[in-house]
Symmetry: C5
Subunit: 353 residues, 5 copies
């Protein structure tokens, strides 16, 4: 997904038609289940969503993690078992959604991008995360097999922190928090690139700096596009009156909200800095050019009149009295020296060098 991909299902299809619009990013779809309560926990790889339904009864939280959304049947099955609105299912497979939060009473639907930096293409890439947050279950969909939420799984396995003591809302918060935290990593990296550009500007302002500025700016635009709706998402989640959310979790969501704001402000500052850097770059290029032109001008204006004088006495007229003079040659050399001196003086006064 590059920054302007908005591929969508064909216009005219009835709403709720499930059509996967992204690239197929993983070969097969993995379904992992983590069911837990404060005391015990169970982790399992299943083939069908249906396999996890029994677990739902015995644990306070059943987390169904689906890696890969290109297999429509899996999403449809989840939709059937958990009674999900067809438009929600459409949004899950239609992978370039704008971050948003929808409260469907029985469940809350969250969709937002997890981002990572592609070192080769030097661009930020994203995959879509969809969460369906029910009273005792949470279904997460992601496009690839990347272990984005590995640290959370670890915390559940090792009963680290409060996660095992809390409900699905805290789990959803933890997933969201992990994704938002990874934005800081990207931000830090963009900041380093910005520093590198600024440094390069001082040392050797070449044309490749322009490309770096453009690339960085594109990345900022991409991030910014996701972040503003992400901010809305977190705000409306925190403020929602849904009884799927407990007050305990709300305080943590407010913390996530602060982080999103901080990232947005970082991006805005980057954009501001970039436009300042561009100004400096353009002026530097201009200044170097001016310096070059000044040398040309000095040399040319100095020698053009002198060459003209030499040209005069190179003419072959039969009667040119100066040519016969004993000191004619040296007089002309003297005149040339004088002309040079006054021109240099003039340049000096004009502060050309």
């Amino acid at each position: 997904m590059t920054w302007h991909t908005i591929r969508r299902k064909e216009p005219g299809l009835p709403p709720g038609t499930l059509v996967h619009t992204g690239e197929e990013k993983s070969e097969r779809v993995n379904i992992t289940i983590m069911a837990y309560n404060a005391e015990t926990f169970e982790e399992r790889q299943v083939e069908n969503i249906a396999d996890c339904l029994p677990l739902k009864e015995n644990f306070t939280v059943t987390w169904i993690s689906v890696d890969g959304v290109h297999q429509i049947s899996v999403v449809e099955e989840a939709g059937k078992h958990f009674d999900i609105h067809p438009l929600v299912l459409e949004d899950i497979v239609n992978v370039n959604q704008r971050p948003k939060m929808e409260d469907h009473e029985q469940y809350i639907f969250l969709v937002f991008p997890a981002i990572y930096y592609d070192q080769e293409e030097e661009t930020i890439k994203a995959e879509q995360i969809s969460l369906i947050l029910g009273p005792r279950f949470l279904i997460s969909f992601q496009e690839t097999n990347k272990d984005i939420f590995g640290s959370i799984k670890e915390r559940i396995r090792n009963n680290k922190g409060v996660i095992r003591k809390k409900g699905t809302d805290y789990l959803a918060y933890a997933l969201l928090d992990t994704v938002v935290d990874s934005y800081f990593v990207i931000l830090e990296m963009l900041g380093e690139k910005l520093d590198a550009i600024e440094e390069g500007l001082v040392n050797a302002p070449g044309v490749e700096i322009l490309r770096s500025i453009h690339k960085l700016r594109t990345n900022c635009t991409f991030l910014r596009k996701s972040l503003w709706p992400l901010r809305e998402l977190v705000a409306s989640l925190e403020r929602s009156g849904s009884n799927l959310l407990q007050d305990f979790t709300r305080a943590y969501l407010r913390d996530v909200y602060d982080h999103v704001i901080q990232i947005i402000e970082g991006i805005e500052t980057f954009r501001d800095m970039l436009s300042g850097i561009l100004d400096v770059y353009l002026s530097s290029v201009n200044n170097r050019m001016n310096e070059v032109m000044k040398v040309l001008t000095i040399i040319a204006t100095l020698f053009i009149p002198l060459s003209f004088i030499a040209g005069i006495y190179g003419m072959n007229f039969e009667y040119m009295p100066e040519l016969k003079w004993k000191w004619g040659y040296f007089t002309v050399l003297g005149v040339m020296a004088l002309v040079s001196f006054f021109m240099l003086l003039y340049f000096k006064l004009k502060k050309w060098f």
Copy 2:
């Protein structure tokens, strides 16, 4: 309709005077009727609006689709039979309306543009769609005979999806959704053009890139102008308390709203990117120019002093001792070589090449 056409009826005419302000885009006005309920459906071409009134009784939904608004009498007839406010009729024939939604209690009036891309002129064009949404009927007006809503007609004929089970509000949603979906197609196309420009920038930054940027920018401006009021239209339709709209449909309207927002954000991102690309383009042109100038400067500053030396010894003074020297000529050649060497060294130190 180009982007700034706002042709209107003459100032001073009484309000409610019906004057068609667009070009006549189709030769004759077609009136098609699709009447349906969950079980049965009927499709008919009629001559007069009056011909469709009997159908209204027997079906839950009667869709009267009028292709061509330049024949004032048809619009007037519709106005009379369905008791439409004269200002609404004026807006239908006055084809460059701003997208808007008006709740007239007995019916809701929607007007918005359907857009398509004119490959020849490389501009986005639009035709105005007007919808009058009543309790059991929906009248749609469009300017041309283009089969914009073909896929929906197909869904009605084949009883595909839920459309036949729902009322006029769902039909209106379906029409609106089809139009909004077609914006994505345009957006995708503009995105491809943007990519092409960005690529061209790297390979060969010529003057025609500037024209492409300008054209793309104009198209974005055109789209943007329609989209902001379209956003308002969808929002106020969804939020309206009108009992012509059922809750079932509202969820779908929210979906359309999300799409419009997504398109708007896409356009804004394009504009942002375009201004970045323009900066890169201008700098590239500048850099190429500077390179050219640098070559000129190097050649000129190198040879101007040498030519001067040659000029000195081309003078015809009778008494020029150097000319008699055995090695005079080779000494001068040596001096010239030395001067060149030091100048090249200077250029090297200045990092001119």
Copy 3:
């Protein structure tokens, strides 16, 4: 009135002092009275406002149209007879008011500019229209004798449309609508100028295009300055709870509001386009310049080394072995040809032509 005239009465004068601040645009002040109801109507030229008071009793609407506000006594007389607040009277004669609407319970005060295009000076000019809308009377003030509202007078005389059947509020709407409609004419004209500029850009980008852009931009700035408060005026008029306004009229005011918004959006689009056109213009000029410089550079870098070679053999040293060679001259010519060839090859590789 040019776009920045804000001439005002001297600071320090007590509020309510009537001082006319505009140019005297008409020689004498004309007072025309049109009194009407659905059945009958009367039109009269009077000398004093007092002359129209008897008519007020017999008709539902008495429209007193005052052409020229430089005669303070007329405005004062109107103020006395209709009990108008001194600040309102001050605003009427103080002609460069910002469009605004004031609800004074007994009457509503509206002030807004009517604009027209001065072909000679190529600028938009304005004159101030003030309306005092009472329960059975409407007083309109304008600065000149221009027949701005001729079409409305015609409609009253001929009983065309609903105007004779409605009250003073509908008349006020009709006057406002006429003025707003005339903005569309100006807008269309500016659009044509924009097209002309865009076309000129393609054919021959000369310096006069810059002046056209600047002129157009100034005109847009002028219009924009009036339009935003005009929008407020119409909105607050429509939304006001005053019982001088009937629901019937409100629907029409909403229509006017839509028009104002449409004009504002048109202007904003123009401004956006103009800044795009300026970018294209500046780049075009730059490109032309670069082309010129490139020719200079090619010619200069080609001939400067050749001239140097010729200069070498123009030296008058006694001992220059090459000069004696039989084929010396032709060898040198050959060397020159070779140098030219390689330089042209280099230019070709650099894609300079």
Copy 4:
């Protein structure tokens, strides 16, 4: 006070410490008292604030006008007698306050700048006006002895207008109105400067225009900085529910509000125009430069090849057959003429002149 002076008391001092932060603009502090009611009036110069307390009993309004705030004791005395909050006193002597209005129940505190144009330095300067509006008294503080409110004193002395019949709120309005009116004078002056710049642009675009643009822009920035909070001040004064303000006065405050808005819009328009003018200026300079370069290019590209030809036949080879030809010289001259002709033709085709 230049536009960015924000000198303040040292950080860390307890709040309410009175430290005068401006320059000492007058030698001594004058205290003038004007006490009046509808029938009678008294004017007096006093030494101490205490001297005016007896007057307060006999008149409806006692206006204590203090010229000069650098003498802390006077402000402290006023604070003690009228029971003013220490932070208010601090704001009075701390002269670079942002315009604001504070309702302290017993009194309303207003602070805003009076501006004037310093012809010598060509900048707008300001002095701070503070008003304490009580039920029967009004204290005004200003920094200098300038007779800013002379016209109001005159109106009180001569019982002109309604001022003697109204309370302290109307007096406060009158003072505020006088200051706001003086902004129009500055605005008009800036407008004239703008016109002068625009005219100069057409005739002779020199470097001093750039300085004028910059100066004007700085002045606009300065004004704008004061005006936005001034707008807030007037709005919150008008809307405040304080019973120190009568409805009669509120209408007049609304008028002042309109004026402030009008001034703000004027300034914004100026800024907009200035950036347009800067564009035109930069392009004009560019165009002139291009013209100069074109002449250089034409001359240089014309003569460089010709000089080369002359150089060829200036070589001293023993065997150069052309030199012996009878018509050699004239042939060469002919060739040169031909070359010139074709080059001029090429320039003509390229539309270089």
Copy 5:
């Protein structure tokens, strides 16, 4: 902390994990306690937070000032004794927080940066101040041992002003006010730099001005980033309904709010001015360049044709009649003088000098 440092704890750690993210700015952590009421006061250096708990009983205010947050155990201990939310503790040690205010009922948490100017690096630096404002205690955390609040400690020791008579809210206000006041110092300093740049622009517009502009702009961006959330902080503190705040203090908070607004407006004005200065700078550089080019053009266009004439008569044709003429040489000199004269005339007419 430079302007874009947003280093954070590793993504994936459970929330509430205390990880210090800043540099270790002081060697050891100092804990100072100042406990006071109107009559008496006690100051003490302690090792553990626990040591100060007894004091809390005997005094109305106990201020625990912790210098250095890199020692996690101290913060944890404070959290345990005063029952602080883990996310608050995390924010205290996670030192690059966005300024914010959180009302936790038992206490209010404030976090904001104190700034100072690093003369060596010519950048603004910041350290994070965290305040926990409880009913009878206030804990302040800062990163370094800098005596930021020395003047307040002095006021407490000497019982200066009202500070000893008031509660913890007034103390919090005093700390906040001290920090905000120090922003004015920075602002004043930036203003001086701006003046220096503006002056340098007039005298000698060199490339180092560009760097100064860029540096100043970066500093403004940095300040601005902190100030907008600081404004929110103060506003929500003042408006909060918490009963930890007394009305007496609210008036003082409003004063702080005014100061923050004033600083923000100052910064915005600086940014505005800087972009104006950049325009002037770029144009000045351009103008100087044009002047240089004009001299080149004049010299070159003047001498190129003259040199060509000299070149003609330097040719060695055997038959060149002019060469034999007695006055040939002087005629040519005369022609050259004439050509020069007309070219200079042309330049004069073109206003090139």
